[in-house]
Every structure is written in C-alpha cells, then in structure tokens.
C-alpha cells in the first residue's frame, strides 16, 4: 500500500497512509504514515466503535495537515481493546482546539 501512496504523491496528490506494520512502511519510505498495533483487518479499530475510528482518523488528518517533510511517521501507542476511547477522544478534542487557537 505504501507503493500506491508513493505513486499518488509523485502525481501531485498529498497522501497520508495508515499501517499495521510500521517496519515495512518505514523501510519502503512513505510521505506521511502512521501505524497502530492492531490485528489485520482492523486498522481503524473495532466494528461499530465510531469514537475510536474517529479518533484514529483525526490523527491521520492532523498528520496530513501538519507534516512538513517527506517520511514523517507516527507510531500510535494505543493498545488493542485496552484503552478508554471516550476519554482519549475528549483529550484529543482539547488538544486539537488548543492547536487551532495557537
């Protein structure tokens, strides 16, 4: 999938790519990437957990807008099914509001 990101980016489309395997993505070299340690088939989390999915999407969009150089990669620390997603989402909203204000 990193290969597709590279092709799109070279064609003039800014990309942000999610990964389950950070090592492969970093070896390949993707413009903007972020990884989660979740099982295959669950890159944005659990089915019907909209809060969790939205939190991860916000991380992706934030990286898309903030990264200033090629190869920017973020390894998200979240543990599979062992996080308080509602609490994390609230904290993220506060962070994003603060960075908007600055």
């Amino acid at each position: 999938m990193g290969l597709i990101a590279r092709v799109l980016e070279a064609a003039g489309i800014s990309t942000v790519s999610f990964f389950l395997l950070a090592e492969i993505a970093q070896q390949l070299g993707v413009p903007r990437g972020l990884s989660v340690k979740f099982p295959f088939g669950h890159v944005l989390g659990e089915p019907d957990n909209s809060v969790q999915q939205q939190l991860l999407i916000n991380h992706g969009l934030d990286l898309l807008m903030q990264a200033s150089q090629a190869g920017t990669f973020v390894q998200l620390p979240y543990r599979w099914k062992r996080e308080d997603w509602a609490g994390l989402a609230q904290a993220q909203q506060a962070d994003l509001a603060q960075s908007d204000a600055q």
Partner: protein, 169 residues
C-alpha cells in the same frame, strides 16, 4: 482448496497477532531509492478534496470480485463512488479475517466518517474512492506501480482531488 488454506491462514493471523509481526520481519520489502515523493498540502483542511484508498479488497456488490485464484494476487482496482452506502459494499479477500469489516466496513474503508466530514464542512468534499486487493507479489507489483496505481492517480487528478487517505487490510 487453496482458498480454504488461505482462509485458515487468515484466521491464524487474527488469533495470534504475534505471527503477523514475525511474518513482517521476514517479508522482503522492495528496496526503493532513499527519495520519498512529496506534494505539500495547500490550503486548510476545509479546502481539501479527499479520496479514500484501501487495499482491503472492498468493492460494490454489483462489481466483479477480486481474483482469489492467482497466487500473486490481483493488481486491479475497483471504483467506489463517494455516496456509496456501506450496505452496497462487500469484501473479497482470503488473506485476512474480514468478519468484523463485513459488519462495519469503516474499519478498513472509513467512508461513512468521511461522508460526514464532508457534510459538516470539515473537509470540502469526499471524492471517488478506490479499492485494491493488497497481497500483491512478483510480476503484479510492476503492474501495480506502472499501470493500475498511476491510472487511479490520473482519475483522482481529473476529479480535482487534493489529498488521499490510505488504509490497509
């Protein structure tokens, strides 16, 4: 028979996440130049016209399935229009356990979320989305890099898309 074997493998990777990490370690990553392509984002998030790309083998029920019999994978892609409803989508992919994604496609293709982001004006527009199959090896990697991925890039440019969010299976 081969499909049943692959499906069993997919289940094992799901049951034992450590296997996936070990598989990754011995996976031969294609060596590329140190150069990483870069297109700077112009404007604000609210000005972005965004398309989603997944390698999760997602496609419209009305479209042909991905080829699960070629051991090197299927380098073709399927168009998923921006206004597609999750119920109109189905997954053909034997190399991962997609029972959860069958229930909620948003965990591999977050289309409902981005439809909402566009409706709220957080982003300007959700553009045409595309799905690949992933698990592409050998000669099909060339097809992907030189033919099918560039074709998607041209389609996105023609649609005025400024950014893409990519999600794997």
């Amino acid at each position: 028979m081969r499909r049943a074997f692959n499906q069993l493998g997919a289940w094992l990777y799901r049951a034992l996440p450590g296997l996936g990490q070990r598989w990754a370690k011995r996976f031969q990553v294609q060596t590329v130049a140190a150069h990483i392509p870069w297109t700077a984002v112009r404007g604000t998030l609210a000005q972005q016209r965004i398309s989603l790309i997944t390698t999760g083998g997602v496609h419209l029920r009305s479209d042909p399935a991905f080829d699960m019999h070629d051991p090197h994978g299927d380098p073709s892609f399927r168009l998923i229009p921006a206004d597609t409803k999750p119920n109109d989508l189905i997954i053909t992919h034997d190399y991962y356990d997609h029972r959860d994604a069958d229930r909620d496609v948003n965990i591999v293709l977050p289309i409902s979320h981005f439809q909402q982001l566009a409706a709220q004006g957080t982003i300007q527009q959700l553009g045409p989305c595309y799905s690949f199959m992933g698990h592409i090896t050998d000669e099909h990697i060339d097809t992907l890099i030189n033919q099918t991925a560039p074709a998607v890039a041209r389609n996105l440019r023609a649609a005025g898309i400024t950014a893409a969010v990519l999600t794997p299976a």
